[in-house]
């Protein structure tokens, strides 16, 4: 449907309601391949719902989402990787087991598990990745034995195992300490530069959104009925290209934050330092 060849993902007339309560309405979007879209909005604005629809964890009530010009499948598939804020990795598997799982599933359709030489081989394949995410020493630890930052590094690495063309991140650093968050930003940006996938990242930290993204999507309600606050859903109210230096933007983090009622100042020092 969409003509342009470098459009990775298109959203057309998207609507989502729960029990006739609209959450999202009239969402229109075209995203170029290799973009890093950060998504912000007040809580309950439907930004996570939007991400879940990109993942096919939920299905639109109306409208369509096109990936490379084709309708999205009805359920999660390996072409879209996901990192959640919590429970992203498998608690019953060690770090290295978490990382080789994807290749085990691919190579052993019935057992879902590799043994002997093949297993050793799979472990060798991930040794470089372990090094990259700084978990070589913790290869045989369980996630519960890792810090929050280490768990999320593992989650990101695991989500990229199937080389997805789209990576979805749902407040991935929300529970992390500010210092750790900076490390994570570096890791994420490095991987993105290297692999060139398209990223959608939901965050509640507006500075993080400005810092990481090439494009900022702000979800908010534009129509209000004072009698029935739930009458209308949210849509994309701001769609800012961030490729240009911050100073040239007419709308900075503070303006966006105050426009949608987000705390804009809180994390400023931490995210702006790098």
């Amino acid at each position: 449907m969409t003509g342009s060849p470098d459009i990775k993902l298109s959203v057309r007339g998207l609507e989502k309601s729960y029990d006739r309560t609209p959450i999202l309405e009239r969402v229109e979007l075209d995203v170029e391949s290799g973009s890093f879209c950060t998504i912000v909005g007040a809580s309950g604005c439907g930004k996570s719902t939007f991400l879940r629809m990109l993942l096919s964890q939920e299905l639109p009530t109306r409208g369509e989402i096109l990936l490379d010009g084709h309708a999205l499948p009805d359920e999660p598939t390996p072409d879209r990787g996901i990192v959640f804020q919590k429970y992203s990795v498998f608690s019953h598997l060690t770090v290295s087991e978490n990382l080789i799982l994807a290749s085990e599933l691919e190579r052993a359709p019935f057992a879902g598990r590799l043994f002997g030489v093949k297993r050793r081989q799979a472990r060798e394949e991930i040794s470089e990745l372990l090094q990259r995410i700084g978990l070589s020493a913790a290869a045989d630890k369980y996630p519960a034995q890792l810090s929050g930052g280490m768990q999320q590094r593992l989650a990101i690495a695991q989500a990229l195992a199937k080389k997805p063309s789209i990576l979805l991140l749902d407040e991935p650093f929300g529970a992390l300490d500010p210092g750790i968050r900076l490390d994570m930003h570096e890791l994420l940006l490095g991987l993105w530069n290297e692999l060139g996938m398209t990223i959608f990242m939901v965050t509640h930290d507006i500075h993080e959104a400005f810092k990481l993204g090439t494009r900022l999507l702000v979800f908010d309600k534009i129509r209000h009925d004072p009698q029935v606050p739930e009458a209308y859903g949210a849509t994309i109210t701001y769609d800012l290209p961030l490729a240009t230096p911050l100073t040239e933007l007419t709308q900075g983090p503070e303006q966006i934050a105050s426009a949608i009622g987000l705390p804009g100042q809180s994390d400023k020092t931490n995210t702006m330092t790098s």
Binding site: Q57, P76, L105, G112, Y142, Q158
Partner: protein, 273 residues
């Protein structure tokens, strides 16, 4: 220091833990002593010595009629019934519990039925069990299974439902099939909870085992207790009760140990039981 902040040392804790047991034994010995002042052959509260003798007789002296060491024959047969029954229940819980917890259509079909079925007091359908399974081992095992499986299936299904949705989605994005998710995600996540369910299930299982053996049997711990009850042989019943309690306790600890050894990841957080 306030009493809530005072912690007993290891030795004190051990002594405190033993105290109620010792007190029970002393209390028993005294009560038994008083009863035997009235009637030296009192059967209700026999002396600790005659309890010991009876236990020795059951455990180490071959029975005059059969030549068997009754305690060990009874223990072996009872544990075999209990083990078989619980193995069947565990397999049912794993297969049905996972199907119900993981596949919405199966859940819709079976969950209401199972919820209803689990409310039937198993003892009330004993005659049906007899006619279906006969009076032999099958009926006893069936009673244990019917008494424990529904609850175990339900708690397994709940354990599957309790797996964070995020993990299942993540597995899907890693290209896992339903079968692969079952063997690599659902079963490993559910097994430790399964062991907890098994430990909880063992409590009613013992009750059903003893009841089943009381009804029609030729051996077993429950059989022996109900048999010698006919002549109020408390000197045999009391050590058997202690023995059953000990076996149940050891089984429970063994399962906990198994869980700690096999599912280290599950016990990393706070460990309640």
């Amino acid at each position: 220091m306030r009493i809530i902040n005072r912690k007993p040392s290891r030795l004190t804790a051990l002594a405190l833990g033993l105290l109620p047991f010792v007190a029970t034994i002393i209390g028993y010995a005294i009560a038994s002593h008083y009863r035997r002042l009235d009637n030296p052959a009192d059967k209700l509260l026999p002396s600790l010595e005659s309890i010991g003798q009876a236990f020795w007789r059951m455990a180490a002296i071959p029975d005059r009629r059969s030549g068997d060491l009754l305690l060990w024959v009874d223990t072996f047969d009872s544990l075999w019934r209990l083990g078989t029954g619980m193995a069947v229940s565990t397999l049912l819980a794993l297969s049905l519990g996972i199907a119900i917890g993981f596949i919405p259509h199966v859940r819709s079909a079976l969950a209401p039925y199972l919820a209803t079925f689990s409310l039937i007091p198993p003892i009330t359908i004993l005659p049906i069990l007899f006619i279906t399974f006969g009076l032999g081992e099958m009926a006893k095992i069936a009673l244990i299974v019917i008494g424990t499986a529904p609850v175990m299936i339900r708690s397994t299904a709940q354990a599957v439902l309790d797996i964070p949705r995020e993990m299942i989605i993540k597995a899907e994005t890693l290209g896992a099939s339903v079968w692969q998710m079952t063997v690599r995600l659902v079963i490993p996540q559910v097994l430790p909870k399964m062991i907890t369910a098994l430990r909880m299930g063992l409590v009613p299982a013992w009750i059903f085992l003893i009841s089943a053996e009381a009804i029609a049997s030729t051996t077993g711990l429950g059989y022996r207790i109900f048999l010698v009850r006919r002549y109020l042989a408390m000197d045999v019943i009391l050590p058997y009760v202690v023995w059953i309690t000990l076996l149940a306790f050891l089984l429970d600890r063994a399962l906990l140990l198994l869980s700690r050894r096999s599912f280290q990841w599950h016990h990393l957080g706070s460990d309640a039981l």
